[in-house]
């Protein structure tokens, strides 16, 4: 049951082969069995899940079910869920129970999906390895000594180990795509503004975007259709109809123009990774796609630009965590300053503090022009690179991450090397484009991902391209043996 696609699960539920309650039990059992070793859940919500499953079964019985009704899911613990702890992977919010529901979780609940729990993540989504979580590191199911990537590492692992059929994630600089690649699953970061950010704890507001983490492009198409759409509670959400992503999946790829940025395939690229990506591209060529070498000349500026913009926004976004109204408060504060300093000093972990410091510095009087303003200018240059590229091509492809999963502890003392693991994903967030990662092979028995970047609001094409690839390959069906 746990290896079925969403369409198969829906069919089973509709046909009465199994109920949502049975399905939910099955996943809850798997979470009980494997969850602790993988550390991919912060909170499980068994009682709530079973209630929701019962309600879903009633809907199915009444003939009122949609394609997602009764199907379990897990939410990254960054989405506020009414009455359920929303920790964001931080001691700061360890005691925070949201009094309202995020738009994403609300829409999926309305579609009848059943919440199994909340997944582990890098603290406040800041990290590329899931080692910065207050709740401890998450293990990669392909190799328990390896990181799963981050920040949506818990969601990626839960899907990869089939502890949930799908999970939600958020992506600020690669936080859906990089862990999807490192765990061998499919993940899509939609166009900025496609999915409402309401109720999603903010990291960097101009970059954050939610998306599904799934077993396949087809599943992603189904779930994204339910997540996307205009929400007047998010002023950056774009009022544009949501296309039927499922309807576009079967389009053939003859004549598809695939851009291969020479900067992504330079000398710096690992040979093994180059081989995996070349093999994937060969599949598209066989499907009739046309390969075009392109250039994104400002590629190397993406990481430094991001590490000014994202910390600047986060330094301000995280100011609300002050120990005054909710969240962690230090013991016995002596005065206001002591309350602030110790609540924040004790409530935040090192990586979060590091980024708050960087961002505060970048916005300070006398440095603003040199850092923040300059970074905004570079952001335009990076967007323009893509704009020009999309005049020649339909999609852009390359590796999602420069390497497969590294070991836990390997990079945690070296922030810059950690930051560079997002080198291919970050530019997409800076430009606000949609990007996707699909499993494309293995290196040393660890999964590697192919990144597909699309033009604004061209998720239909991304999903179509990924789905066609997955019709020719079975990388996405591989499950780590221990969890099969």
């Amino acid at each position: 049951m746990h290896t079925k696609s969403l369409a198969q699960l829906a069919q089973g539920l509709q046909a009465g082969e199994f109920t949502s309650v049975e399905l939910t039990h099955r996943y809850l059992e798997r979470i009980d069995e494997f969850g602790p070793d993988l550390n991919c859940f912060i909170t499980t919500t068994a009682d709530l899940a079973l209630q929701q499953a019962q309600a879903a079964d009633a809907r199915i019985a009444a003939g009122e079910a949609g394609p997602l009704t009764g199907i379990p899911l897990a939410h990254k613990d960054i989405f506020c869920t009414r009455g359920v702890r929303t920790s964001c992977g931080s001691r700061m919010l360890d005691n925070f129970i949201a009094p309202y529901e995020s738009n994403v979780s609300e829409q999926l609940a309305r579609a009848g999906m059943v919440m199994l729990g909340k997944t582990n993540m890098d603290e406040f989504a800041m990290g590329s390895s899931n080692e910065t979580s207050y709740y401890g590191a998450v293990k990669n199911p392909w190799n328990l000594a390896a990181v799963p990537g981050g920040s949506s590492g818990g969601s990626a692992v839960a899907v990869a180990a089939r502890l949930t059929p799908i999970a939600t994630g958020t992506d600020t600089g690669g936080s859906i795509r990089q862990p999807a690649a490192l765990c061998g699953i499919t993940g899509i970061k939609p166009t900025y503004g496609r999915v409402s950010r309401y109720g999603m704890v903010a990291f960097a507001s101009s970059l954050d975007q939610a998306g599904p983490m799934t077993q396949s492009a087809e599943d992603a198409a189904l779930v994204l259709g339910a997540m996307a759409g205009f929400d007047q509670r998010d002023s950056t959400c774009v009022e544009q109809p949501v296309p039927d992503y499922m309807a576009g999946l079967e389009q053939d790829l003859k004549g598809l123009r695939i851009g291969l940025p020479k900067e992504y395939f330079s000398d710096g690229l690992d040979n093994e990774m180059a081989r995996v990506i070349d093999d994937a591209i060969a599949v598209f060529r066989d499907l009739g796609a046309e390969l075009v070498e392109i250039s994104l000349p400002n590629t190397t500026l993406a990481v430094p630009t991001y590490y000014v913009v994202a910390p600047a926004e986060c330094s301000s976004n995280l100011s609300r965590f002050d120990g005054v109204r909710y969240g962690y408060r230090c013991e016995d504060p002596q005065d206001l300053e002591d309350l602030y300093k110790r609540s924040r000093g004790e409530g935040f972990g090192d990586e979060v503090k590091r980024r708050i410091m960087i961002g505060t510095y970048a916005l300070s009087a006398g440095y603003y022009d040199a850092y923040y303003l300059k970074a905004q200018q570079l952001r335009h240059l990076i967007s323009d690179d893509f704009k020009q590229a999309f005049e020649q091509v339909d999609v852009i492809m390359g590796p999602t991450s420069p390497s497969v999963a590294f070991n836990i502890g390997e990079k945690s003392e070296d922030p810059v090397s950690m930051y560079l693991s997002d080198i291919y994903t970050i530019a997409v967030n800076l430009a606000g484009l949609p990007g996707m990662s699909v499993p494309a092979g293995f290196i040393n028995e660890l999964p590697a991902g192919l990144q597909i970047i699309g033009n604004y609001f061209d998720e239909t094409r991304l999903l179509n391209v990924a789905h066609q690839y997955q019709q020719q390959t079975d990388w996405h069906r591989r499950i780590p043996e221990q969890f099969s």
């Binding site: 999603m200 960097a204 507001s205 509670r233 998010d234 002023s235 301000s316 916005l363 923040y372």
Partner: protein, 479 residues
Amino acid sequence: MEWEVVIGLEIHAQLATQSKIFSAASTAYGAEPNTQACAVDLGLPGVLPVLNEQAVVMASRFGLAIGAQVAPRSVFARKNYFYPDLPKGYQISQFELPIVGQGSIEIELEDGSSKTIGITRAHLEEDAGKSLHEDFHDMTGVDLNRAGTPLLEIVSEPDMRSPAEAVAYMKKIHSLVRYIEICDGNMQEGSFRCDANVSIRPKGQEEFGTRAELKNINSFRFVEKAIQYEIERQIDVLEGGGEVVQETRLYDSAKNETRSMRSKEEANDYRYFPDPDLLPLEVDAAFLEEVRKTLPELPDEKKHRFMKEYGLSAYDAGVLTASRELAAYYEDAASAGGDQPKLVANWVSGELAALLNKNNLDITESPVSAAMLGGLVKRIADETISGKIAKTVFEAMWNGEGDADAIIESKGLKQITDTGAIEKVIDDIIAANPAQVEQLLAGKDKLMGFFVGQVMKATQGKANPGQVNSLLREKLKQK
């Protein structure tokens, strides 16, 4: 040395929207603490601001009213600082690109002259909550009802040169925001308050002195007193050989003094940057045209029309157009009063204003209606009563005894215009006062007043003083 003061004001006008600037919570004043603060106002994680369109309409009304450009594109920025009554750790404001650009307004001074005061900009921002230091035994309470209330911060040029000019400017803005119905102007509730930037320089010097920013001024009286105090303080410092430091000073109205809050060095670095949760605000010409259509006649337009149409002085026209209600009252009274706009103006800003003021009443609460006042002026103009009797009639009207005609009739106050009757009285008085007649004829002209007074007294004021005067002179000539 002779010093000149330079003053600029930053006025915070609370916009009269139903809900907050970035949330749907109510802005009503006086609710139980924290009952009008929703998730957005509390700064919970994950919630987002959504701009209230009414606040944009109101800011645009102000921009149009001061002849400023309403920016086609303005940007909300975050002003970052920590304080318990600032839930997000930043205030959403506008910094580099405000919604309202440069404009100006005319103020009227006591000496009858007018002066134009430049307005640098006006921008939208959210108010903070309130810290409550009493009643919490060594702790501080925070009430976030006010958090997120829309404010328009109106920044003037440093164009004012006396506390009186600052007061006149503040009053003018106060009048304007009420005219255009964007602020209730309630200063007790903090809906209208200001900070003053004050510096002094030797008279004739071009460059400005170092300024102090006075905070927390919430009445016209206090703005005058705070600035006056600050001028004297700065003069003392400079004449004592010291230097004025750039700093923020708090005005304490109980002690009537300003004291230092923080110096420039201690000032916060607010780390302004564009708020990524809000898109740039775009206001197009069609929107502005719609807003313009809803604007009433503005105070300065009205003032100039009053000067032209009614022949009033700039000062009188300024006084009468201070509020929409007063101006409407005046216009109604003027039309009821026949062709006597100046006389009506004198009555409105004289007797009526004095009594309203004394009884702490607003023009809309006046017991004497505009029509009644106009009726009275008509009777003065057609010489049915004298100006002096008119005061008696006015008091009776104030006391609810009816309109002017009814009071004149019932009290028999109609002026005697029958020459014969007045002549008879004059004859009697001349006969009764031979000594005074002699002195008058000998050149002691001052005694004319005595004779007129005697005649008026004998007629209980009902004779026309002008007529009495000329008849008296004729009679005396015959002597």
